[in-house]
């Protein structure tokens, strides 16, 4: 039975008919609800049988035999309370649990009375409970304990148990009255709150940024360990101090105060929730650059401000270093470019003067030798004529050297225009020129199809003419001369080659191949200035490519070159 209803108001008045009253009383007697009537002073004037059954008394007891009216009144009050109430005698034996107990535990009063209640206490709490209870009984001091009580569904819920002794006029304890309050939800919330607080505390304490909080009046309310490291002030030194005096440089203080005041008055804070670049004060007095974010937090009625502060001294230093490096780098590039341009201009002037001035004396040497030979032929013997011929040959050869050198230097200065180039057609032209100069020679020629690359056509022509001219020249003593121009894979790209079956050369001298004026054959054997391959190498390098050769004496030579950069790691050649 869980329902107690005060129907005082609902009862018929004295003016109601007797018949009505009899019928009504019968109804109440039979009601499944406990019904009682009491006076304003709490004196019970009526209750039905259901009520008597429930509170465990009979009408006689209620009316005076053993149980006082006051006790009955007390129980009436206790029964109707929302809390779980119990009473115990002076010996500590529980003689009353209000209905809320049975409702909660699902156990009837008979089972939990006296010491039966221990069964719904959590096993871990029983001993403490018993001890405290005993201590309270023995000492007459109030009982107080947080403990877990088992609900009907088996779940334990935290309760706060309190019991007070009630004494008679002689000071003897006549009854203990206890109340248990379910504090489980509260405790759980507290636990969660504690956990959450702990988590936040850990985050704040381990943060690599200084985290400082400040109240509306500008005093410091939070100072994490990194703040100690950043500003030099210990937690206890910093707490409750004025933030602006402690860490804000004097020049920024007024702005800080005005900003704070403005925000408190208008709720407008342009500096809030943005990353700011400012400076801060260290305990030792130094000012250092910081990166700062301030956020307002509404705590109850008041604001708090949390600031995340990062010391960016090191970063600024790096940044400045990088900027300085960049500036000097640019300056250096400009300087070098200027120097290069100067050198280039000098080189151009030099080449011009070589072209113009060195030819003139050569012309004079050759011209006057020729003049001498023609005009004074009758006065010269055979040796004199031969000597003059040598002078002329030397002059002409020097002219050729100058021309080749100029061509070489011009290659370095000329502009590159990259476009698809048909190397096969250039190769055919080069061979045709050789053939035109020596129509009687028979040379077997193989040119592979599809010799294409992105290159400067003019330079590529020179790069092909030289090795082809060499191949033509060095096969001149070969009865079945053969020249092959082709392409093969090389280091992820392609290498072009010019191969001949001529006299070849000793690979021991391969390192001299591409130097200007370096020759592997005497002029008596083969003519040449020794500049051709140096020129080819320069052309190849200007394309980002490589040139190399394989040869053996009397077994021909192969010159390879690439016209685009290849993976150095994959490239293996002499």
């Amino acid at each position: 039975m869980t329902f107690v209803q005060d129907i005082t108001e609902a009862l018929p008045t004295e003016q109601a008919g007797r018949l009505h009253e009899a019928r009504y009383r019968k109804l109440i007697e039979m009601s499944a609800h406990g019904v009682w009537r009491a006076r304003a002073d709490g004196h019970l004037t009526y209750c039905n049988q259901r009520w008597l059954d429930y509170i465990g008394l009979d009408m006689g007891a209620l009316e005076g035999n053993g149980v006082s009216q006051s006790e009955a009144r007390l129980r009436l009050v206790l029964d109707s309370m929302a809390q779980k109430i119990f009473t115990a005698n002076a010996q500590g034996e529980v003689d009353y649990f209000n209905p809320q107990w049975s409702e909660f535990t699902g156990l009837p009063f008979d089972i939990i009375r006296d010491w039966g209640w221990t069964q719904f206490i959590h096993p871990d709490d029983v001993e403490t409970n018993m001890q405290r209870w005993q201590t309270a009984i023995d000492s007459g001091q109030p009982f107080l304990l947080e403990q877990r009580c088992r609900r009907a569904d088996g779940a334990y819920r935290w309760h706060l148990s309190r019991a007070l002794p009630i004494r008679n006029d002689g000071g003897q304890i006549i009854i203990w009255v206890g109340a248990n309050t379910d504090i489980d939800d509260q405790k759980r919330a507290e636990g969660l709150l504690r956990e959450s607080e702990h988590r936040v505390r850990l985050i704040v304490d381990t943060s690599l940024d200084a985290i400082v909080t400040m109240s509306e009046d500008g005093s410091i309310t939070g100072w994490n360990p990194q703040a100690e490291a950043t500003f030099g002030w210990k937690h206890d030194e910093a707490m409750h101090r004025n933030l602006d005096e402690l860490i804000i440089p004097e020049v920024h203080r007024e702005a800080h105060r005005r900003g704070l005041q403005h925000f408190l008055e208008t709720r407008i804070g342009p500096a809030l929730n943005h990353r700011l670049d400012l400076t801060a004060l260290h305990k030792k007095g130094g000012e250092f650059p910081i990166e700062l974010t301030i956020s307002p937090l509404m705590l109850g009625e008041k604001y708090e401000f949390s600031a995340c502060v990062r010391d960016v001294t090191q970063r600024k230093r790096w940044q400045e270093e990088i900027e300085t490096l960049n500036e000097t780098l640019e300056q250096r590039v400009t300087d070098r470019t200027t120097q290069l341009q100067l050198v280039n201009r000098e080189l151009e002037a030099f080449a011009y003067s070589v072209s113009h001035d060195l030819h003139a004396p050569l012309r004079a040497i050759d011209g006057f030798s020729r003049s001498l030979a023609l005009d004074y032929a009758d006065k010269l013997d055979a040796r004199g004529t031969a000597d003059l011929e040598r002078v002329r040959n030397a002059a002409q050869r020097m002219g050729q050297l100058i021309d080749d050198l100029l061509a070489l230097s011009r290659l370095a200065r000329s502009e590159m225009r990259l476009a698809p180039v048909d190397l096969a057609s250039l190769a055919r032209d080069a061979v045709a020129e050789c053939q035109a100069a020596e129509p009687s020679r028979v040379v077997e020629l193989h040119i592979a199809p599809g010799l294409q690359d992105m290159a400067d056509a003019r330079l590529t022509r020179v790069a092909l003419e030289n090795p082809i001219g060499n191949a033509w020249k060095f096969t001149s003593k070969q009865p079945d001369a053969r020249i092959e121009i082709g392409v093969e894979p090389h280091a992820g790209g392609t290498a072009f080659y010019v191969r001949d079956n001529g006299c070849g050369f000793d690979m021991a001298y391969a390192d001299k191949l591409f130097g200007a004026f370096q020759r592997l054959h005497s002029r008596a054997e083969f003519d040449g200035t020794g500049i051709g391959l140096a020129t080819v190498q320069r052309i190849v390098h200007r394309h980002g490519g490589h040139i190399w050769a394989h040869a053996a004496v009397d077994q021909g030579a192969t010159f390879y070159f690439t016209l685009s950069p290849v993976d150095e790691a994959q490239a293996t050649h002499v």
Partner: protein, 147 residues
Amino acid sequence: MSEKIILLVEDNPDDEVLTLRAFERHGLANEIVVVRDGAEALDYLFATGPYAQREPSPPTLILLDLKLPKIDGLQVLKKLREDARTRSLPVVILTSSREEQDLVESYWLGANSYVRKPVDFDHFVEAARQLGLYWLVLNEPSPRSAS
């Protein structure tokens, strides 16, 4: 138009002699006037300075070196082409320079021909022969420049 004059603008005495000899071998030497720098060339052509008394008859052909004292060959060429009196005179650049830039500029300024002096004297003689043959014999000069 009784005499066909070649004006040789050449500062190098060796080249001057060689050029004269080359033309001499083809019987053209008596018709060559030599000036030794750009300024003198302009004085001669416009009958100014030392040539103020000269009767202004234009040469049939000008052989112009590029690298000259005072006023260089390209400047001389430019002045000739700017003046109506000399605009249509045949000018052959006779030089040691093989610089592409010189070639381009010479033609741009209105040179009629560009001949590189060969080192080999025999080639030079041959070049002189062909130049003389073409410009003094085969080529019909512009009526205005022949006036």
